[in-house]
Symmetry: C2
Subunit: 202 residues, 2 copies
DNA sequence: GATGTATGGATTGAGCGTCGTCCCATCTTT
DNA sequence: AAAGATGGGACGACGCTCAATCCATACATC
């Protein structure tokens, strides 16, 4: 089993992902090409296809790592204070992360799978697991809620955050919310939670 | 001044926009190409560039028309009922429109201007004007709010709606909110408004 | 009025550079 | 020798450009 390479397959995979991430972080998705990646890692374009099925597969890997980094970041948020306060800090951390990595976050928003190629299950799972810090922080507030209501509240929070961050990142859509996205996040979280408290307090 | 054409410049522009819209509506942005458009309108690819600066210019035109259609749709929402009810109906109409035109709405979400080319002002203005039905419907609820708070509330509502609709449309991001987006919209609007009412009721 | 001709915008389509992807000859280690 | 790793040319499609061509009009001539 002849191996010519200096790098193991895993190392090569790592090099490619790193180079591709650098390109996107610097130039956005439009700057990414198989030839440019190959140039940076000193391999030929064809070699990329020994490691990844295609460029979308590679992009999905970049996105997955970004989601992992976001999850780590949310884990670092301290757990003290009132539930409202904690939720605000979670939301702020989420927003901060997207603003620190605008080009990479944009990748997540603009990239689409080509028709016919499906989003793998591990990716969907990773996305779904981002909900748990929110649901955890939300539970102490929702004693009187049934399971379905809790789930719905978490979904709504997540969707709202997603809306604010994507408006803040993709300047194409934000003649509105670009400045003071932090303000919008706080307004959204505190007001929505305040509304939740109303529900069973009639 | 010889004109060879069957069509006036305006007619040709119309034909091109229509063909391009059809393509996107059927195959998404990835199916759109100058050559395919040209084939459908029976002109050569080069002719497109007499009418549009480039494909991004054309795509922006498609998007603008989509926003116009959305604005018309929101105008049709009846104005009766409580402000809450009216806001819910506005939000539902917004969601319904995006779900009736998933591929076109996706265009709005995934398309980006190439680096260096700016989003024209008329486009930003069109986007901004989508806020006014929301602010109008919101005002009766916010008597005790100052101008800044009103604006903030409208922004938050808009961003939240945007989040829910884009999760519902771009299946890449929605292992979560895909089903029952309508439920999420209603939960969001009613709960957020309920929270707003709390603010000056202490 | 009929005919010829010059004008100049409209249109074409080959061509440039780039892209993702494929594939096979080649290399290198076992 | 065997077999996996690699290089790099090739293919079709892409956005976009531009010199060449076309033809409806405007004018000149008879």
């Amino acid at each position: 089993m002849g191996r010519r390479s200096i790098h193991t397959s895993d190392e090569l995979r790592e090099l490619i992902v790193q180079a591709a991430t650098d390109i996107v972080d610097h130039d956005g998705l439009s700057g990414l090409s198989a030839r440019e990646i190959a140039k940076r890692v000193n391999y030929s374009p064809g070699t990329l296809y020994n490691v990844f099925d295609n460029l979308d597969d590679l992009v999905l890997t970049i996105e997955a790592r970004l989601l992992d980094r976001l999850a780590e970041r949310l884990d670092l948020v301290e757990s003290g204070g009132t539930p409202q306060h904690r939720l605000c800090r979670l939301a702020d951390a989420y927003l901060a992360f997207t603003q620190e990595n605008p080009k990479l976050w944009n990748l997540l928003l603009e990239h689409r799978m080509p028709t016919g190629r499906e989003i793998p299950d591990w990716y969907r799972a990773k996305l779904g697991s981002l909900l748990t810090p929110l649901t955890d922080a939300l539970t102490p507030l929702l004693d009187s809620f049934d399971a379905q209501e809790k789930e719905q509240a978490a979904r709504t929070l997540w969707a709202g955050l997603h809306g604010i961050t994507s408006l803040s990142t993709a300047d194409k859509l934000s003649p509105i919310a670009n400045h003071a996205a932090g303000q919008t996040v706080d307004d959204f979280v505190t007001t929505y939670i305040s509304g939740l408290k109303n529900r069973h307090a009639n």
